[in-house]
Point group: C2
């Protein structure tokens, strides 16, 4: 039976290990998995688009393990008290197809996105980067700040959001973090003096959060929010002025900021820089862009981190999602003698909450 890691369990696990340690551990897993990139059976995610959002499935596997993530993106959700992004995921055994973990991925996605951004910045930004602009101060923003503080060496974050309450929330949440937090009144102001610019905005629109006039030599742009068709954050001239790095090119051409560029617009995949087969930043003055959309391999890496941590620390419980049968060819028999009812752990009936 698969382990089930609920949202409360994931919160408890992260609180126990510490957020920065979890992000660092996930980043280590992502790096290790990106270094064996050719081992994976990769595909662009499957998206069902609707008027107000998208629901996506993101599968990936190597010879031994399989994972997928379910994730939505509905920017209007916050108006009715729901998250813009909700996610869960599964690990499975490739040899048998049996699921081994069912886990929340809302919190974990925030950690893995921040881990990926920080890993890319550590690889691509100038090593002396200390100041980051953080544009979009919603649910993902604090995770980006903490990841860049601990993995990249950022000490100052310049904040902007069209919703001042979002910025106020971030400032309150990170007041004890040791980061210097500078609240700005526009994206342009936030970008001034920044070594790194992180955009993590939620609107499903072709926006231009960063325009060419904001650029300074040597800047690294971590573009996180432009991640589905019709949803961009960078002006085309920003991309033209920069060397652009991506996760998985076929997916990023559809979903990333480069969706607005010609199909042959030159990009470099991050894993190629990590393994040394291609060059990253070529000079201190070059502008680099990490056009991040979120790739299934990062969820694979993060799920394995959470699975290992949950097993090591005793979090989670078993889920009777698959019938337990003495004779697997006798599925029908479960209806005759109720043997499936005798599965060793049946979640508690008192947890039933019916309308």
């Amino acid at each position: 039976m698969p382990l089930y890691l609920s949202a409360p369990d994931a919160v408890a696990l992260v609180r126990r290990k510490g957020l920065k340690n979890c992000i660092a551990g996930i980043a280590d897993n992502i790096r290790a998995d990106f270094l064996r990139w050719p081992d994976f059976d990769k595909s662009a995610r499957v998206a069902n688009h609707s008027k107000d959002g998208v629901i996506e499935l993101m599968p990936i596997s190597d010879d031994t393990a399989y994972s997928f993530k379910y994730v939505n993106g509905h920017p209007k959700n916050t108006a009715i008290g729901l998250s813009t992004v909700m996610a869960f995921g599964v690990l499975a055994d490739v040899a048998t197809g049996a699921p081994t973990l069912v886990s929340e991925l809302t919190l974990t996605t925030a950690m893995r996105t921040a881990a990926t951004s920080a890993l890319a910045a550590k690889t691509l930004a100038r090593p002396d980067s200390r100041v980051m602009a953080l544009i979009g101060n919603g649910a993902q923003s604090e995770f980006q700040a903490i990841a860049f503080q601990h993995l990249v060496g950022i000490d100052t974050v310049r904040l902007f959001d069209i919703d001042p309450q979002a910025t106020a929330k971030l400032v309150a949440n990170l007041s004890g973090s040791g980061l210097s937090l500078q609240v700005c009144t526009s994206a342009a102001e936030a970008v001034q003096g920044a070594d790194i610019v992180t955009t993590v905005t939620a609107d499903k629109a072709c926006a231009t959060i960063v325009t060419a006039d904001m650029l300074a030599p040597g800047m690294h742009i971590n573009a996180v929010g432009g991640d589905c068709p019709g949803k961009t954050e960078l002006a085309a001239r920003v991309l033209q002025a920069a060397k652009v790095f991506v996760e998985f090119t076929p997916q990023t051409r559809i979903e990333g900021d480069i969706q607005q560029m010609p199909a042959d617009f030159a990009v470099t995949e991050l894993w190629e820089v990590l393994n040394g087969s291609r060059t990253g930043r070529e000079s201190d003055a070059q502008i680099t862009v990490f056009d991040s959309v979120g790739f299934a391999l990062e969820d694979f890496s993060a799920l394995r981190f959470m699975h290992d941590a949950a097993l090591a620390l005793g979090y989670g419980e078993r889920l009777a999602l698959i019938p337990q049968m003495t004779d697997p060819k006798n599925l029908f028999g479960t209806l005759l003698d109720g043997q499936a009812n005798a599965a060793p752990i049946h979640l508690q009936p008192q947890a039933v909450a019916m309308a």
Copy 2:
């Protein structure tokens, strides 16, 4: 929070409602959904193939509801006490992306496959069909027999499996069903005198369970087991001799028995026959083939049946898979004040079972 319907809960629900009633209810849902076929955002399933099997994701949505199924196919699993096919699925709200149901789909897949087969046979087989050959007597076979008995009017089933124990299991399971069960020593013998031939074998191989010499005028062939690349059950000459019906053409050309035919081999989609826009069987002598591979819409229909039934009868419990937050933009806050820990229902800690 989504409703969670475990395998034991699904078994209990089906035992309470009765298997034939569940299959009939699912068949009604499938018919209703096939009649509004153009309403759905359809795609071929995403498959990760490995040495011994395949893991697939099958998403589909209309304007209001989304579903996907996770399902594997590992024929060697039974040798180590696991099911060949294990499945679970999710329903979600298209407007918000929030999951509404997490359900077992191993048992439910067997019911929906049988419901689809029976719906196709009721539409395509001669109305006076009473005798069915059932080749492959594994986990899916009893469900096929019950569905054909109650929805199509079959009274006699002629059985064959290369594993005599599988046939013995089927005979024991269906001894009180009212069906006349005739055990045969070969596929060819089982097919003799049959109005309908159902093949539901598991080997991942290009097999020829049914060959042209076994055909009789007016036969309907319900080919269920040929359902992924490299896995077929019918000889090419059987397909050439018949009028062939499919679920979703782009998927069946890859996965169905017609994978061995040219890309322009003529097929008719079942929904077109159901809504009267295309002809089904053209004469009592014509041979018809339903080249079934299993389509996401059938799982959508089945998940909605199980969801409605679970809500009506009080089965299932709520799953804290998504963080519950007072401010959805404040995901980070869950780590500071533990508000996600205050989710109203946290599955019981005593259910933890760690290695």
